[in-house]
Symmetry: C2
Subunit: 388 residues, 2 copies
Amino acid sequence: MTGSAHATTWSRADSPAAPFEILATATTGPARRGRLRTTHGCVDTPAFMPVATAGTVKGLTPAQLRELGAQIVLANAYHLALRPGVALIRALGGLHRFMGWDGPILTDSGGYQIFSLAALRTVSDEGVAFRSHVDGAALFLTPEAVVQLQIDLGVDIAMVLDECVAGDASRAEAERAARRTLDWARRCARVETAPGQLLFGIVQGAMYPDLRARQAAELVDLGFPGYAVGGLSVGEERNITMTVAAETVAALPVERPRYLMGVGRPEDLIRFVGMGYDLFDCVLPTRNGRNGMFFTSSGPLNIRLARYATDTQAVDAECACYPCRTFARAYLRHLAVSNEMLGAQLASVHNLYFYQQLMREMRAAIEAGDFPAWAATRIARLSTGAQA
Amino acid sequence: MTGSAHATTWSRADSPAAPFEILATATTGPARRGRLRTTHGCVDTPAFMPVATAGTVKGLTPAQLRELGAQIVLANAYHLALRPGVALIRALGGLHRFMGWDGPILTDSGGYQIFSLAALRTVSDEGVAFRSHVDGAALFLTPEAVVQLQIDLGVDIAMVLDECVAGDASRAEAERAARRTLDWARRCARVETAPGQLLFGIVQGAMYPDLRARQAAELVDLGFPGYAVGGLSVGEERNITMTVAAETVAALPVERPRYLMGVGRPEDLIRFVGMGYDLFDCVLPTRNGRNGMFFTSSGPLNIRLARYATDTQAVDAECACYPCRTFARAYLRHLAVSNEMLGAQLASVHNLYFYQQLMREMRAAIEAGDFPAWAATRIARLSTGAQA
């Protein structure tokens, strides 16, 4: 498979292979180590994408993202369309130049905002009418328009418009959203993307495995170069997330990159990689970081706790990030309780480094052929909570 | 003058020369290029000290401060005493280790807070009773205690406790505060600092030049290794600031470092260097940066203005800082209007770089012997306001 050739000659009508190469698989189980080629560089998978919703990973410069090993970031076409506007970003040379990030970018379409901004939108078969959460302006997004926005942004990976429903959606509601999502995917697939741009399909279906399996099969018939699983971690119980995630990935083609949207905690990522997922994004490292929560190899640590006031240790003795090499917990606690901006920044740097390091370790474990054993040990340690 | 020898053998009782060396003077006027030696390294003067009130320059890591050329930072003993507490910082190895900054640190004493937190304190000849602005706890600061706090923090340069009054203080009020400040300076000078630690005296006297001159003369009799001028930019008119600053510096010994506290805008710093001041600190680069104000070589620029929405230029074409090398004004405006943390960070990085670069240029102009001509040109450009 010659990914770079595909990247320039690929078009939807051919239903081609994605520029994705599987380099190693776990000896037991479906985990795999791969490489996704984009026009802005390669992504080693399994990969975690820091979230840059509005064109910035909150609290970090692009240089810092590079330094901690991020290879791809996720932005949000819906948010950027509202502010500052996609036409503006396009006129300024595209999203990469705008945000100063020359690596790959994936954009979510706005489908998740159908769920998270439910009070501000009306969904019909034609598309979604949003009232802007910024200034109340009206925005009507059709599936075709959403792909066009992402073409105009110049992103490497675009997502189809999907309808995300809550974790407790009824069967009828889930059926209706799934059917609409499939119809929208078909319409998105007819839009010709720019050379090298990949468009990923999204499997919905709420918590109904048979619906998800059917949805996956029909999506695969459309021949996308990559598949995402959306609509998880939207309020359902954790064991249901795990079951649905595992059953859905099994319905997706082995040779395509598989992206589980919007999850999760470190131990969850290990489990999802064990199921065969390749790509992830989540706001936890930065959002929780801003609230003083540090991820560590033995579980989360709330730096605001009084017990850390005199603690001279690094947040995580095993971590090689700049904050862990430089500051004691006592200082990081001082920053957090004083609401100093640097506290949020350092926690975000640490957490994103921690996630990237975890992905590096997962890739190495898959290559070494001992992923399941490694995963069991690592998950056990992450759950000790010795420092929480 | 052998500064490093002084740095290890210096003690107040000998009334010794400060470890300060004048390397070059302007051919016309009192501007000078010097070097101040501390146990944590040298400071090239004229120097600007980024403000790290609570042990952090807001929005920047120590590594970023180094990168933009800062050689010394200013922290505040009063603030650190309230939170997290000086005993704690001492137990953790001192302020340098606590905040991850291995260069020189100067601490202000809390005298300015007598002015800025007037509602929370009661001043007597004995000292100042503060009610903590953090948690309401009582804190009584005597002159001796304030020096001891700074000894315990392990700073390179400590400041005496002074009483700062408002710009419109009456003659009687100014007299009283000046007399008290002098008495406190005498008491501070009797405290033995740690080897290598320098204690600077502070001239007060409100806007009464003769009072300031008398105050300076009496302070100089106490033989401090450096002198600060406090109580300016506290509400008085700008031309008064200039007059008082010029007349006061003339009353201070040429061979000692002279520190003008809490100022100012770029064009002001050039004027104050032209008067013979060596050290400065000011919150403007970071505080105004957080509000979207960028300093540029042709004057301040408010990045929130609509005119920058589509502007592809760097904030300052002449600036070599990371934000100016990486981002267009349109992106920085987007961050500011979206209240993204990165906007505040990048503005702070740029502004502090701009200040450090200005100091570098001033030092070069003094060395080249053409400071007055350079200053006139530079001030004229800074006032064009072409981008404001």
